[in-house]
């Protein structure tokens, strides 16, 4: 559904490519995860998708339509993106914030209708932040904030969800809740593209994993394909072993002490 086709991105005045020839696809009904060390280009991928960074070469397609030709609002109605960081200088209530997610549908003029209201309420429920509805954005915890952001993305009502490190600041319980939600959404038909550091959680929940290294794809496939000690050690430059987690059966990475 979202397809990156041999995408090359080089920032102005940079000496190396941030992304060099990346091809990957996030299909409907699947949870695709992009993992890799810091600076490997994961966030650049997301920024290229929302057109904050120009492509040097290659193309990005949503439902086979080139993103470059799409109208901003049209893109936002189809793909909801939750970026790594967001700060509001002027705090609003959680409800008002989630309502902002309907902007691609409303534009500058139209007032919110019944459909918009319903979409907002459903997203609030889906993200599990109903009890925070009237609270002010600056009065909730970091973890609650992440979930509220997710609610806003859901309110955009698209068929794809792209998230850049959505579980920072979340404790174990909330982190699991987010992954489970994303998994559920994928099963319900959304194309979920997730950028995350949490290799082990990704290995448990993702259908498809893509490992980045220095701006290009180092390995791609199912978690079993990608979670291999030799590959991971080379990419992360740290001694580690990969075991099969006895409790859940998914591959898990265990970092060792440095030699």
């Amino acid at each position: 559904m979202i397809r990156f086709d041999d995408v090359v991105v080089r920032y102005p005045r940079a000496s190396v490519d941030a992304l060099s020839g990346v091809s990957l696809e996030a299909r409907r009904g699947a949870l695709t995860a992009v993992v890799g060390p810091n600076g490997s280009g994961k966030s650049t991928l997301v920024r290229a998708l929302i057109r904050r960074t120009a492509l040097t070469r290659g193309g990005i397609f949503v439902d086979d339509k080139p993103v470059a030709t799409m109208d901003g609002a049209e893109l936002a109605r189809t793909v909801a993106v939750v970026t790594q960081r967001e700060e509001l200088a002027f705090p609003v209530s959680v409800l008002e914030y989630v309502q902002l997610g309907r902007f691609p549908h409303l534009g500058a003029w139209h007032s919110a209708g019944e459909r918009d209201r319903r979409a907002v309420e459903e997203s609030i429920d889906a993200a599990g932040v109903r009890e925070l509805r009237e609270r002010r954005i600056d009065a909730i915890s970091g973890g609650e904030w992440q979930r509220v952001r997710l609610a806003r993305a859901l309110a955009q009502g698209g068929s794809a969800l792209v998230l850049d490190e959505p579980t920072t600041f979340l404790d174990v319980g909330h982190e699991m809740a987010v992954f489970e939600l994303l998994h559920r959404l994928a099963r319900a038909g959304q194309a979920v593209l997730l950028v995350s550091h949490q290799l082990n959680l990704v290995a448990r929940f993702a259908d498809h994993m893509v490992l980045f290294h220095h701006g290009s794809v180092s390995a791609a496939g199912t978690p079993d394909d990608v979670m291999r000690a030799d590959v991971l050690e080379r990419v992360y430059e740290w001694p580690l072993v990969v075991i099969r987690d006895p409790a859940v059966g998914a591959p898990a990475l265990v970092p060792l002490r440095s030699r």
Partner: protein, 323 residues
């Protein structure tokens, strides 16, 4: 905001304007005010109303509305509660233009024009500096570019005034302190066009500013063309600010304080915030001008001084409320 609140704001503006028309060194009785409105101007008080008070009050309302709207839009777009209309070099550039015109001996028709041109030149320079530094979309870079341009403008003014005649220095200083005392019909009409057109544009951009307030990447994710939207706001807000400076000199603090007042009343969406800032800004400047006229008779306190005096305690209160 509810309709009732809007009506209350408008009513406050009307009352303030009325009081400002009636009160001053000469207290104009109500009958004279009505006479003046009916067009009967043979009595001196009625003449005072039409020739002196009405133009002042009209100009004050426009100045306040323009600066209020500009400040509200800029604070949201730059995600900075301390942003204000003169941020991008408008005040420095306008002052340079005015001082050059004054030094060359030009009078009341050329100086405002020179100030306007100077303001826009400075904003343009700030944009060029920001682009050279890399990013146009990062408000911090633009802010710093504005500071650089402003510093340069101040240096230029000091150089020009250092060797100028006393006349020139006095004229320049007086202009920089801001005043609506010399309101002419032309000035009012021109300013009205800028404030009305610019205000409509900013209200239209209001929803986009709401989204921009989330941050550039998040806004892009919601479908806003961030660079274009920001540029539009900067251009319109700076044009309005430049027009107010051309008409009345430097009137500080209004663009900074008014949006906070409107926000404190519970308004958060920028369409309402901009509109509300227009009304509250107009009211504030009308009252500031009135205060300047009655505080120290027979002299007049400059408008910029009164607004600064109002602004300082306001910010002290805000600072205390910060956690």
């Amino acid at each position: 905001m509810t309709l009732a609140r809007w009506l209350m704001l408008l009513a406050s503006l009307a009352v303030a304007a009325f009081v400002a028309i009636a009160v001053g060194t000469i207290t104009v009785p109500l009958s004279a005010v009505f006479d003046a409105f009916r067009g009967v101007t043979d009595s001196t008080p009625a003449m005072v109303v039409t020739t002196l008070r009405l133009p002042r009050v009209a100009l004050a309302i426009l100045i306040g509305a323009g600066l209020g709207m500009s400040g509200a839009a800029l604070q949201g777009t730059m995600r900075n509660p301390l942003a204000e209309p003169y941020l991008l070099g408008v005040s420095g550039g306008a002052a340079v233009g005015a001082v050059i015109a004054t030094t060359l001996g030009f009078g009341a028709t050329i100086v405002p024009l020179a100030a306007f041109v100077g303001a826009l030149t400075a904003v343009g320079a700030a944009f060029i500096v920001a682009r050279a530094a890399g990013s146009l979309g990062d408000p911090r870079v633009l802010l710093m570019a504005g500071v650089v341009v402003g510093a340069f403008a101040n240096a230029a003014i000091m150089v020009m005034l250092a060797n100028a005649e006393s006349n020139t220095v006095r004229n320049a200083l007086w202009w920089m302190m801001g005043s609506v005392a010399d309101a002419t019909r032309t000035q009012i009409t021109v300013l009205f066009v800028y404030v009305a057109a610019g205000g409509c544009a900013l209200v239209l951009l209001g929803r986009q500013i709401d989204i921009l307030a989330l941050g550039e990447d998040a806004a892009a994710g919601l479908g806003v063309d961030v660079d274009r939207a920001m540029r539009n706001v900067f251009v319109v807000a700076s044009l309005i600010a430049a027009a107010t400076v051309a008409a009345a000199g430097l009137v500080g603090f209004v663009g900074l304080v008014v949006p906070h007042i409107v926000r404190a009343a519970g308004v958060r969406h920028h369409r309402s915030l901009v509109a509300g800032s227009a009304i509250v800004g107009g009211t504030l400047v009308v009252l500031a001008d009135l205060l300047g006229r009655i505080l120290r008779p027979p002299a007049e306190l400059p408008l910029g001084a009164v607004t600064a005096l109002v602004g300082v305690p306001f910010f002290l209160i805000k600072l205390r409320r910060l956690r």
